[in-house]
Subunit: 221 residues, 2 copies
């Protein structure tokens, strides 16, 4: 059927009262492309309270300077230095609040600079990842593991997922248009009731596609 | 027809001498996915003889240290400093031989660091691109234009293009598998008789997909 024929059919169904305008809108709503805003993550560190105190001093607390898209998460004033076997990266932002385990999220390019393997992982999946040394104003911490290249993912609430026909753990693709257009596969849906809708990719992924914080991408199931 | 049935058909055609092994190979060759090796470009500079002399001294000549994939092209010993309105990038490799116009190829991330607009362009298309200052051991050059983020492209000879059913200027996509798999669109075929087969993407594009120099990608028409 051609687009013309489909339009004539829908128009006819409306004109003769077979369908209501609302029904057509509902149908088109479901057919409309699924989209999501992009949040771009640079390299950053999540610290445990123990490692925070080793780096910044006993009883130290993070100083929030900016709220992040996920409820309760913030960028802190504090930064640390990553010390790898091959190189050093200074002024890496600490995000808060503190977590049970310290996790260092770097770009793939950073792993070459630091001299550690690039392990693409979802947040929290630290088993088998390389370690690194963190340096702060009060001391250093030699992490046995915890350096990851963050796997791209989409945060959403369970309701938002259900509304879009998605579920927690589903693997989708995201697509962008434009002069650096393309598609990223293996994007994991992370649905839970403490998440705000946001698609997280890292700086290199964003730059490869010429997109920035707040750009809109299409979700492809 | 199922894969089994097709295989029985081909096997039968071979056994009874309807097709030769060569004919089947030729057919499969055409049906096999089009692939190409990837060459990853970091930031680099092509200099005019005039700018080379301004930066390194009168009568200066580049010192080749490594051949590149394209015939006659080489990485030189020399490096320059990029000085933008917001920041500086040191030790940027000069590629040779000299060209009619100086061209500075940076990553999109670099454009933020330097403070210049990101113009995605094919090599040589410098009109309307931002300028920058180059600094060398002998002096500096204030370029009125010439800073580009290289548009992804595939070099090949005209014969190789014809054999693959491609032509100069054609826009294709390239696809990769793996944990950071995906697709880059708007990849321009550059076919001429001085090119070696190589798909050029930049460091950020390569890192976004977790691929490196020599990785194989599929060309999608």
């Amino acid at each position: 059927m051609s687009a013309d024929e489909i339009e004539r059919l829908i128009r006819g169904a409306l004109d003769t009262g077979i369908w209501s305008e609302q029904q057509v809108e509902d149908l088109l709503g479901h057919a409309a492309p699924l989209t999501v805003n992009v949040g771009v993550s640079g390299r950053h560190v999540h610290l445990s309270q123990e490692d925070l105190e080793a780096l910044f001093g006993a009883g130290y607390e993070l100083t929030p300077i900016k709220e992040l898209s996920q409820p309760g998460q913030f960028a802190a004033k504090e930064t640390v230095t990553l010390v790898g076997p091959k190189g050093v990266i200074e002024r890496v932002r600490v995000l808060g609040p503190v977590r049970p385990s310290t996790q260092v999220e770097v770009l793939r390019g950073d792993t070459f600079k630091l001299g550690v393997p690039a392990c693409v992982r979802m947040s929290g999946k630290l088993e088998g990842t390389p370690g690194i040394t963190l340096a702060g104003p009060h001391g250093t911490v030699a992490l046995p593991q915890g350096v990851i290249v963050a796997a791209r993912h989409i945060h959403m609430t369970c309701d938002e997922a259900a509304k879009r026909g998605l579920h927690d753990g589903q693997v989708v693709s995201i697509a962008f248009g434009g002069e650096r257009g393309g598609r990223l596969d293996n994007v994991v849906v992370r649905a839970n009731n403490t998440s705000a809708l946001d698609c997280h990719i890292d700086t290199e992924e964003a730059n490869a596609f010429g997109i920035k914080n707040g750009s809109v991408v299409e979700i492809i199931k």
